[in-house]
Each structure stands twice: as C-alpha cells, then as structure tokens.
C-alpha cells in the first residue's frame, strides 16, 4: 500500500514539474485537415496530407505566417475521417471544439463533406472542401466553401466539347447508380446533351452498381444503340475495366470521361487502351508551366509520383485559406471573432491565382473557374488540350 502511494505521489510531482507551464494558446494558428486516411479511398487522404505538409514546409521556411505585422506559428491538425460520414462529423467537431482550429480544409468526398459542412456551419467555422462536387455541401451555408467547379458546370462543358470537337449527335452514358458523384454528373451530362441535340439524343443510358466488374451486357446494349461516343464519369479502377471491355467488344469510337479519371492509377491500370482518350479535369500535369509545374515537380521529387487533382486542389484550397487569414489583417486570439473574419475574407476573394486556375467565389461559396480538357497522350501522360471557362 505504501509503495503504491509513493508511486502515485511521484507521478503527480513529475506531472507538475515537467508540464510546460507557459502554454501559448494564441501564438499559433491551427488549421484542420479532415482527410480519409483509411477506408475506401486512402490514396485521396494521402494526397491531401502530402499537399498540406508541403504547404506547412513553406510556411515554416518563412518562419511562420505573417498576418498584419505579426508572425504566427502554424500548426496542422490532421484527423482521419475513415471515409465515413459519422467519423467526418466527429472529426470536424473535435477539431473545432477541442483543437480550436481557425479553419478546416476537407473533407474531400461529398458524402463526408455534406454532413461535416453542417457541423462547421453551425459552429461558425470556415471550411473549404477541395474536391466535393455535390451542390448541397455549400448550399445555404455561409461558412462552407469549395475549391473545385461543380457538376452542373462540368456536364455542359463536356457536352459542348464533344459536339464541337467530333460533331457527334448520339451519345451513350454508362455510370454507377450507387455512387453520388457519377450519378449526378451523368444526369447533368444527359440534360446538357439533350438540350443541344434534342430529346432522345442520349441513345443509351446504362447503369451498374459499385464494385461491379463485368460491364459486357451494358456495353453490348450501348454498341447496339448506335451511339457515336461513350461518356463514363467513373473512378480510375472502373475506367480501366470499362475501356478495356468496350474495346474487346468491338467499340472503336471515342470514350470521354470526367475529373474522376485524373488519377495516376488510371493509365497504370488501363494501359494502351486509354491512350488518345479525352476527359475534363481541374489541371493538366503534363506540359504545365509556372507555379503548377513547380508544384508538380516538387511533389514528384518529395513523394515519388505526379500529384493527381486532389493534391492540386488541396494545395489551392489551403493557400486560399492562407490568403484569407492574411487578408483578415489581424488575429485577435478570440477564436469566434477570428473565424468570422476569415470567413468574410474568404467570401471576398477575387481572381485567386491558383495552380488549378483563377478562382472567384460566388455567394454560395462555389468558385467560378475554368475546366481543362485533357488528352491521354501516347506516352500515357495527361496532356493539356483545351481550356473551357464559364
């Protein structure tokens, strides 16, 4: 009994002695990163983390973040949202309440960004989702912003591009009915296409379910329908299967995709079948110039692969937050006031010069920015082909 008391007392003494007594609360600016480090899309989480770390390196090299005439240390608070809605909500709440972050970057996927956005809005904390394309994420939420263009913009961009480039009038669509993003984009594309070419010009509108791997029945229908082009807004793992199976079944017309194609894995899995195909995205890695090239080269050198759009959009989003904090002019240390100030500064940002294009926020918190049409070159690189602006 005596021994245990001595142990406890010594623990307390050690606790008192070694605790850093001067805890500086107001001297650091904390920025939250809400990323899917585990779960369905860990690669997205990794890209987010790496881009954020590169940004932190820059800030630390400069000795801190200069706001007004004071320099503050910056701390990143990374939380794993496990690619689950409930964990994203918990992570956002934890960062806001416990860590007292000034602003949050992420979550990336809409299924987490929509509920996390509600939390951030109710706690009056600015949040910017780099990658979420669901209109609900920012709708009626003054504190929530996003770093990418929306599907209602991307659908018409692709429809116009195909019409102008190939002069086709009959299109087919193949999409995943169980997944939020492909389904939404497929609908917007169909709407835009039928506006251009009249009702019924989407001759085949076929769907499948997440984790399906055999698309032959849908593709056969599409081939029989007499479509001239196939649009498939899928993720990289499905793109490879769809393109390869289409070619095996004798499809030799163009296949067009959306920004979800823009992963380094697409070409790795798809191989030569994907060469020469077009898709719309946020930026083109091959043939990039200026800041974009500098970012890509640095990322490639540090982490060993060319960053996909998540990395680039996260980089832009976190720099937008930085700009907003600096535009704010003063950090008072009262977190509610500072958050409001950052939010107001974010809403006022005009012509922000990001590596994925120039951005200006609308009232909803969505950016007006250009889309890029990319061609997969014969070397398997994503080549800039054309830029389409709203």
């Amino acid at each position: 009994m005596k021994k245990s008391w001595i142990l406890i007392v010594s623990f307390l003494v050690v606790g008192l002695v070694f605790s850093p007594s001067a805890w500086c609360k107001s001297k650091t600016i904390k920025i939250g990163i809400n990323a899917p480090m585990t779960g369905d899309i860990p690669k997205v989480g990794e890209g987010t983390k790496f881009a954020a770390q590169m940004w932190l390196e820059d800030i630390n090299k400069a000795g801190g973040l200069k706001v007004g005439d004071k320099t503050y240390k910056v701390e990143l608070v990374l939380e794993d949202n496990e690619s689950k809605a409930e964990s994203a909500v918990k992570a956002a709440t934890k960062m806001i309440v416990e860590d007292e972050v000034l602003a949050i970057v992420g979550p990336q996927a809409s299924k987490q960004a929509v509920p996390a956005g509600a939390v951030c809005n109710s706690y009056k904390t600015p949040m910017i989702s780099p990658w979420s394309t669901n209109p609900d994420t920012t709708k009626d939420r003054p504190f929530v912003f996003r770093g990418c263009f929306l599907d209602p913009f991307q659908g018409p961009v692709l429809a116009n591009f195909i019409t102008q480039e190939f002069h086709f009038s009959k299109a087919a669509v193949l999409y995943d009915v169980a997944s939020d993003y492909p389904k939404g984009l497929a609908e917007f594309f169909q709407e835009a296409w039928e506006k251009l070419h009249g009702a019924g010009s989407v001759v085949a509108y076929e769907s499948f379910t997440t984790k399906d791997t055999d698309f032959s029945s849908q593709l056969t229908k599409i081939i029989r329908s007499g479509a001239e082009v196939l649009f498939t807004p899928q993720y990289y793992n499905e793109v490879a299967l769809i393109v390869q199976q289409a070619h095996e079944l004798g499809w030799n017309k163009p296949i067009v995709g959306s920004d979800s194609w823009g992963s380094a894995e697409t070409v790795k899995l798809c191989g030569e079948d994907c060469y020469g195909l077009f898709f719309s995205t946020h930026y083109a890695a091959a043939g990039a110039t200026g800041d974009t090239k500098a970012f890509i080269d640095r990322y490639n050198k540090t982490y060993g692969y060319v960053p996909d759009d998540v990395g680039a959009l996260t980089w832009d989003s976190i720099r937008i937050v930085q700009t907003a904090i600096q535009n704010c002019g003063e950090i008072t240390g009262k977190i509610e006031k500072d958050r409001q100030c950052v939010r107001d500064a974010l809403a006022k940002i005009k012509e922000f010069d990001g590596i994925t294009g120039k951005m200006t926020f609308t009232e909803e918190g969505d950016p007006l920015k250009c889309a890029v049409i990319v061609r997969i070159s014969d070397k398997g690189e994503f080549e800039f082909y054309k830029s389409v602006c709203p």
Binding site: P20, D80, S87, T93, V97, E98, D180
Partner: protein
C-alpha cells in the same frame, strides 16, 4: 521465482482487502462518486489544466492528448487521477454506509422511486460530463445509440441464436423513414418542398417519427422472419445479408429520397435528454422482453428448436416476434442516428456498419444486456479514441476482438441476467 513468490500473496491480500472494503458499497454510492468527479471537473477542471500545463480538459480521458504530445502524459495522468479516480474512490469509501442506508430507505419506500433516483443521478452525470465540450456530447449521443443497436441485435444473435446480418438494413429503414417524416412535415427543403405542418410541433411529433421508423423496419423484418422458419445458421445469415443489400440498393435507386446523394438538413431534435430517454426505454423494454416467458422461449429455440416445439413453444410466433421486436428498436436507433448526424446516405448502412455492430455484440457478450452495454460503449469509445492512429486502429481493435474470442469465447460478460432490483438494492452486511 523468489520475487514472484513473495509478491503474489501480498497482491492477493491487497486485492481481497480492496474487494472487501468495496463490497458493501451500493450502486447509489458509486453514482454519487462519479457525480462528484464530474462536478469536480466542472468547477476545478480549468484551473487544474492550467496548473498541469494541459491545453484543455482532456475530452475523452486524455487519449487524444497522449497520442499527439507524449510530453503531456504525466500531466494527463495526474489530471485523470485527481479528477476521476480520487472522488470515485473517496466518496463511496467515506459515505458508503450512509448512502447504503439511504438506498435501503428509498428501496423500502418504493422500488420505482429508487429507480428514478438512480436514473436521475445517471442523467446528471452524463449531462454534466457532456456539457464540457460539444465533442463529448456528440460522442456520447452516438455511443448511446450504439447501445440500442447492439442490444437489439443481441436479441436475435444472442438470445435467439440466429446469425442475422440484416441490422444495417433495419437501421437504414428507420433512418430514412424518420428523416422523410421530419423533412416532409417540419422542414422547408428542396426535396419535399415547404413544411407541411407548423414547425413548433416538430419536437413533439418527433417520437412519432421514430416509432414510425421502427414500425417500417419491423415490417421489413418480416422478410427475414419468414425464411427463418425453414433455414438456420449459415443460410439465414446469407438471406439476411441479402436483405441488407436489397435495402441499400432500393434506397440508392429511389429518386424521391435522392438516391446515393442522401438526405441532409434534418432538424436538430435529438438533444441529450431525448437520446437518454430512448436509450433507457430501450434497455428497460428489451430487458423485460428477454426476461419474460417469450424471452425464455427464445432461449429454448436457440438451444434446441425441436425440443422447444415439443414442449409447446410456438417457435414460429417466437421467431417472428423476436425479429419484429429487434428490428423495431434498430429502426428507432436509425432514426436517432439520422437526426444526430443530420445526414443519411445509403452508403453508411453497408457491410462496414454490420461489422461494427456484430463486433459490439460479440465483444460485449451474447445473451446479456450488460454485455451489450459494455460492448457498445467500449468499442465506440475505443474506436473514437484510437482514430488518430489511422491504420493501426484497424489492427488494434480486431486484435482485441481476437483476444476476447480466445479467452472469453462468448464475449466479455455473456449469459448474465440484468436484474434492476438486485442492482439498486442496498448491500447487506455479510
């Protein structure tokens, strides 16, 4: 060897002494102890964190701080010791006998009064604890909902002994029904248009939304209950798994609930009292159900269906009843879940949710209300606390499960009766 020999009797004596000195402590005293701890935290938590150099009051027993900044470990341990351990030991020790007499007095007055007093104390503890931060509140709400889900699954998997995988489907049915109900009647949104009824009615009608969710889930459960007359074991597991996928794909293809995009902006009706009342109701009703004649019939069906049939147990009725009952509570939990997150999408109710719920049931213990509570609380908190470890979390928790399965194959606290009367009764001197 020598050290071991010399230590073990002393250790044993210490353990015995501890057990003896706390054997006479009634539940009332323990609750008072914990209440003391949360009050202490409320009034002296902030000054103490400053003295110890902690950035804030540790939200979930300091796990977050410890994982991020190891240099704060001594401070955190000191904080936990002073705030939690000291009052929880000192108060029952000092006031144990007085509170024991008090508990006896309450009990003789009326067991119902005694139960009410215990529950009030429990609610005070939870609300004071959760009041410290919004993060605690959210975690607590989700944990309480997990208790309902786990308990309802235990009725089928533990008490009836069928391996049902359909619970995420029931949750989804409840969550969507309750969400559609509240969104349709009380919210101006773009899916269902303007609110149908005045908004101030919303919180009063919310129980109806939950019950409706439960009823729809129960109707869905008939689809599982009927095949369960003919199949058992693996086959029923497969059928119920199919049910889960069917529910998920139906919702994904239903345009009026916005398919895979999910429903958002549910009204904020679920505060702590609501979750607490529903959880207490679920525990109380499910506990009474499993201790009733029907509950014993469930056990009979599990142990030997043919013998039970021969002994006049109506096995069909029993099975249907158990499935409907369990699905009802899962539906209620789903409705609460949707209104805590204020967002539902079909992707949430997939195989991962199933794994979570099954893990809670089997970790805590089959055929036991205690077990379900312990399993749900420990895995929810553990999952949240270990989240910063990222990928290692998914190694540590399964490892724990494996260890439990090796050393306690039926779960931590299995086959134990949850007797409320015994729990609140004062301890008698032996």
């Amino acid at each position: 060897m020598q050290i071991n020999n010399s230590l073990s009797p002393e250790n044993k004596r210490l353990a015995d002494r501890l057990r003896d000195s706390f054997a006479q402590v009634p539940l009332l005293a323990w609750l008072c102890g914990v209440l003391g701890a949360v009050l202490l935290e409320r009034f002296f938590g902030d000054p103490l964190t400053e003295i110890l150099g902690l950035p804030k009051i540790p939200a979930l027993f300091g796990a977050g701080i410890v994982l991020k900044k190891p240099q704060l470990i001594p401070g955190t341990v000191a904080f936990l010791f002073l705030i939690y351990v000291v009052p929880v030991i000192v108060i029952p020790r000092l006031f144990g006998s007085i509170l024991n007499r008090l508990a006896g007095w309450f009990f003789r007055l009326s067991p119902a009064v005694s139960v009410a007093i215990h529950l009030t104390l429990l609610y005070m503890i939870l609300s004071l604890w959760a009041d410290i931060s919004g993060y605690r509140l959210l975690t607590l709400k989700l944990t309480l909902i997990a208790v309902i889900v786990t308990l309802s699954l235990n009725v089928i998997n533990g008490y009836m002994g069928e391996f049902s995988c359909s619970h995420p489907g029931f949750l989804a049915l409840g969550a969507y029904t309750a969400s559609v109900f509240t969104l349709f009647f009380f919210v101006d949104d773009k899916v269902f248009g303007a609110a149908f009824l005045p908004k101030f009615l919303g919180p009063f009608m919310f129980p109806l939304a939950l019950i409706l969710g439960g009823v729809v889930a129960a109707i869905g459960a008939i689809a599982i209950a009927i095949p369960s007359f003919r199949t058992r074991g693996d086959y029923l597991a497969i059928i119920s798994l199919a049910f889960m996928f069917i529910v998920k794909s139906i919702i994904e293809n239903l345009e009026f609930v916005r398919g895979p995009r999910g429903l958002s902006s549910q009204p904020n009706y679920v505060d702590l009292p609501t979750v607490f009342i529903w959880t207490v109701a679920a525990v109380w009703i499910i506990n009474n159900f499993v201790r009733s004649t029907t509950g014993k019939a469930l056990n009979a069906v599990r142990d030997d269906e043919m013998a039970a049939d021969a002994m006049t147990v109506n096995t069909r009725r029993t099975k249907i009843l158990a499935f409907l009952f369990a699905a009802f509570w899962a539906g209620v939990a789903g409705g609460l879940f949707a209104h805590v997150l204020r967002y539902v999408n079909p992707g949430t109710f997939g195989i991962q949710k199933l794994a979570e719920v099954l893990a809670m049931v089997y970790f805590g213990g089959l055929n036991s209300v205690y077990g379900s509570i312990v399993g749900a609380v420990s895995l929810s908190l553990l999952g949240e606390v270990l989240r910063p470890l990222e990928i290692f979390k998914w190694i540590i928790i399964p490892l724990l499960l494996i260890l439990v399965m090796i050393y306690r194959p039926t779960g931590l606290i299995a086959f134990k009766d949850f007797d409320v009367m015994k729990l609140i009764r004062p301890k008698e001197k032996t």
